[in-house]
Amino acid sequence: MVKMEDIGARILAGDHQVQYGQNQRTKIKALVVDDNMINQALHRTLLRNLGIENHVVGNGREAVDVHCSGRRFDLILMDLDMPVMNGIEATKKLRAMGIQSTIAGVSSRSVDENIQEFWEAGLDDYQQKPLNFPKLVSILQKVNHSV
């Protein structure tokens, strides 16, 4: 099991080149679910810089479909407001499918706004956008790398 706490401490100390796993067998896999191109680019680059393999989809329906195709991820960064299927519906569906990946809600809504429904859909964590290294490290510390 990868020790996220140790790696997280190194990243917060400025070591942004820490690799999450040195080989394909242990490499963390993440799914970015966001309809915004700028956020897609930002989240991909944040993950890539941490050595995390990542895949991007543009809405909740595509996130469900990619799991139906058999793919699995350690971490899902789930946006809330998306067309076709939003983050709440997608999270509910994934949990109903038995997906136990760490799902972190990432939205521009503040914690004061009503994100309770998002949490109740099955999130493991929530961070307000924009995402950055400290927030991503905080999320990664909750990932159980078993995929």
Binding site: N36, I38, N39, L42, S108, P130
Partner: protein, 160 residues
């Protein structure tokens, strides 16, 4: 202009783009409000490496390309009768999310004003606020273009 001078210019330009807090010993000084959130913009620059040396410029280019699409949608929605405020709010929410990701605080503040008018169902207010959004958006574009030009010149000077 030599490399050191260019790099100093780049640093000065970056500081002027970023929000500054006034010296507390001089409260009469007007707050210097820059265009970018320092933390977010520096985070973006921090993501640049050998694999992705122009990440910030690329993401800003993407931002302006996507903005054009969203602005067109907002303009069309403002012209429609009756005005669909839910649609307007949705488009502006998307744009605001992008401004936040690149740290464009002044543009984001104008987006917040737009949202207030949207929630109040005030079409005229929305139209006025949208003009301000576009103005700040263009001003930032000009500032960033100058900043990136200086950076490229400073970068080229390093290889000479």
């Amino acid at each position: 202009m030599d490399r050191n001078q260019l790099q100093r210019q780049v640093a000065l330009m970056r500081s002027s783009l970023i929000e500054q807090v006034p010296n507390p010993s001089l409260p009469s000084l007007k707050l210097l409000v820059g265009y970018l959130d320092e933390q977010q913009f520096l985070q973006l620059e921090d993501l640049q490496d050998d694999v992705n040396p122009n990440f910030v410029e690329e993401i800003v280019t993407l931002f302006y390309k996507d903005s054009a699409r969203l602005f067109h949608n907002i303009e069309q929605a403002l012209k429609s009768r009756p005005v669909d405020f839910a649609k307007l709010d949705n488009y502006m929410h998307q744009f605001r999310g992008s401004t936040s990701s690149i740290g464009a605080i002044k543009v984001k503040n104008e987006c917040n004003q737009f949202k207030e008018f949207c929630l109040a169902g005030n079409a005229e207010g929305c139209a006025r606020a949208f003009q301000k959004v576009k103005q700040e958006h263009e001003t930032l574009r000009t500032q960033l273009e100058t900043y990136f030009k200086l950076r490229r010149q400073a970068g080229l000077a390093e290889t000479v």
